[in-house]
Structures are given as C-alpha cells and as structure tokens.
Symmetry: C2
Subunit: 216 residues, 2 copies
C-alpha cells in the first residue's frame, strides 16, 4: 500500500476508534493512553495524526454533518425525509455519528466544542424553504421552526431508542415522520412521500433493486 | 426550627446542590468534596444524609418522575398535554429535573442507574389508553408507540433548546404539541385542547386567575 494511502487509513482508524471511545465511555473517560491501547499504535504514530483529545473531538464533530446517500428527488420534502431516514440507518452503524451526539449532550465537551445542531437545523431549513417555494408545504408551516423541532425530536428519539430493548432507530424515525408529516405536507404531496424504515438502505445501495426516486 | 424539619431542609439543600452540579459539571466531575464546598456543610453533616455520589444520583433520579400541578381535566388528552407543558415550565427552574435528564444521557451514569424514560413512557401510555377508551383519539393511534415517541421527542427538544440562544422550552413543547396533536386527537377534541405555552404557569398557580380546566 502506498505510504500516503496507508496514512489516510491510519487516520481513519484512529478517528473511528476515538469515536467509539467517546461514545462508550464519554468525553472525560476517553484518554490518549486508552486510544493507544485500542489502536495498537505507538504514541509517535498517533501523534503524527492527532496531538490531543481536543483535536480528536473536533475532528469527530467535523464529520457529523453528512449528506451521504442523499440524491435529488421529485419532491424536496422527500429529500428532507430521506436525510432523517439516512441518518437513522447510518447512526447505529457508524461510531462517528453516535459519538457526535454523545459529545453534544456531554456538558463538558459541549462547553468546549459546541454542537452541530445549528448546522443540521440550517440544512433542514434550506430543504424546507425549497419545499415551500415549490408549494409542497401546508401554508402554516414555518421552515425554521419545523427544522429546529425535527433536529431536536430526532436527537431525543436516538437517545431514548438506544436505551430500549429491541429499539430500532429507523422504525422510530419512520413512525415520527408518519406522525408529523400530515401536518406539514400538502395532501397531494403527502400521499407520494416514502417514509418506510427500509428506504435508507435502498438509497445507500441503489443497485440492490429499489429505485432512488418515488415509492419502490 | 424543630430538629426534624431542619434535617429535611438540609437534605433538600444537599439534593438540589448535587443536582445543580450533575447538571453543570456532569456526573464524573461532580465530587463529594465539591458538594461540601458548595453547601458549606461539614463532611459529617453531609454523610448523615448521603454517604456517596451514587446515592445522590439515585435520589435525584427518584424525584424525576413528578406529576406536580397535574389536575383532572374534561379530556384525558388534556392531562397528557398538561404533563408535557408542566415539565417544560418546571425543568428550567428545577435543577432536580434537568439533572435527571443529564444523568440519563451520560453514558457512565446511565450504565450505573439506568434512566427514568420507561417510567415516563408508562405514565404517557396510561393517559393515552384512558383517552382512547373515552374516544378522544384518532383510530390509528397506538398509545404505547405514541407515548414512547413523545418522551423521546420531548427529551431531545429539551437538550437542543437549552443550547440555543433565546430558546424557550415551553414555547418549543407547545409548538411540538400543535404539530403532532392534529394526527392524534379526534377533531372535536383537538379544537378544545389548550396547548398554550403559558398554561403550565396557570396550572401551578390557579389562584392567579386562569381556570384549571378548558381554555382560559
């Protein structure tokens, strides 16, 4: 493997291992020493990429706002739904994403690094504003208020679901969308939105069969 | 002041100060030493009431499920709404309540003490089941699923709102109720529910003017 490629891979391993530790132990209890144990790197090998726990936390949070799997859809509202479902599908599989929520609800880490919630609210607000311009929303819907409420509710659903036996985040988020969309989407649009818990898996692997747009 | 009454008051001061520390510093960074500094009690005075940080955390969580201010209403659904609004009003004012959420999202404390979310879900489920028996709910509403989703969403709204400048929990929870109730309550009931952000303040001080039942 070329040296540069190996370096990129090592950086990734460090970042994901740090994310796992933040997620499992919390910010305070995560240490560079523990990270060296888990990655089996030398201190020098680690410090080549990251020189402090703070730098690791910032790098984890920098990767938290991600649109992977999102594709243009007939309705902007479907893209907003897709974002919620994609994250619900990915979070239990990607330590970087769950760690970013853990750091956001940890008082100490939050005080040091802030949260990525304002960025997520801005993303949702942009999509909802575009949806409104295309006439997809009921007239009373305020894009900013709705985006804020969704980011908040989504976060709480993640935090509570991970503590429940057999809790499945995709199912919960899908249920939440079904509960709220009738008071957001115009009826004609609502009938065409796909809020299925399995949609994200299809979006991330379109070759697996299901089309990327509309109902399967 | 009689000795017993003073002891009860001291216990309360310790508990609220510990709650403030859990909330502001997190579970790990809260210490008995720091608590002695803040309460200005002697170690013996403190140990008379609580012998460990674990015991304090358990006592905080024991007070987390509270119905204070809740009164019987014409509609069971109004009682459920009231519970959401009462907690939204009280939480920013009562360290015991915010500490219980902080402990629930702290990985270490959660591992040691669990969370009170299952208790809250059970309370909501009971109210929604009673509402369904009285014909207040739309036919598709599942009391357990809806209760679970609400506890989760409410928690997330609290966690995100406290980080936003000018975020007001009562306003946010009221907005969330207005977003979701149209897909939960039967139309005739919906029109009579009071979801105003100021309702909880009236419920907690009925002598201040507003009636406890129905719209003001």
């Amino acid at each position: 493997m070329p040296r540069q490629e190996r370096a990129i891979q090592t950086r990734r391993i460090i970042l994901e291992t740090a994310a796992e530790m933040f997620d499992q132990l919390g910010y305070d209890a995560t240490t560079i020493g523990g990270l060296i144990d888990r990655t089996r790197l030398t201190r020098g090998g680690l410090y080549f990429h990251f020189t402090s726990k703070e730098e690791l936390a910032r790098a984890v949070l920098d990767e938290a706002v991600t649109m992977e799997g999102l594709a243009p859809q007939t309705f902007k509202l479907q893209e907003w739904v897709d974002l919620a479902l994609l994250l619900a599908h990915r979070l239990p599989r990607e330590p970087l994403l769950s760690a970013s929520i853990r750091l956001s609800v940890d008082v100490k880490a939050r005080g040091m690094f802030g949260t990525r919630w304002p960025d997520w609210i801005a993303v949702g607000q942009d999509l909802l504003t575009a949806a409104r311009e295309r006439g997809e929303l009921l007239v009373h819907v305020d894009p900013q208020e709705t985006a804020r409420m969704f980011v908040a509710a989504w976060t709480g659903i993640q935090l509570v679901t991970e503590t429940l036996p057999d809790g499945d985040l995709s199912t919960e988020v899908s249920g939440f969308l079904r509960l709220t969309l009738p008071n957001i989407a115009r009826p004609g649009v609502l009938a065409k939105l796909d809020t299925s818990p399995t949609r994200a898996a299809h979006l991330l692997a379109p070759e697996a069969g299901s089309p990327a747009t509309g109902r399967p």
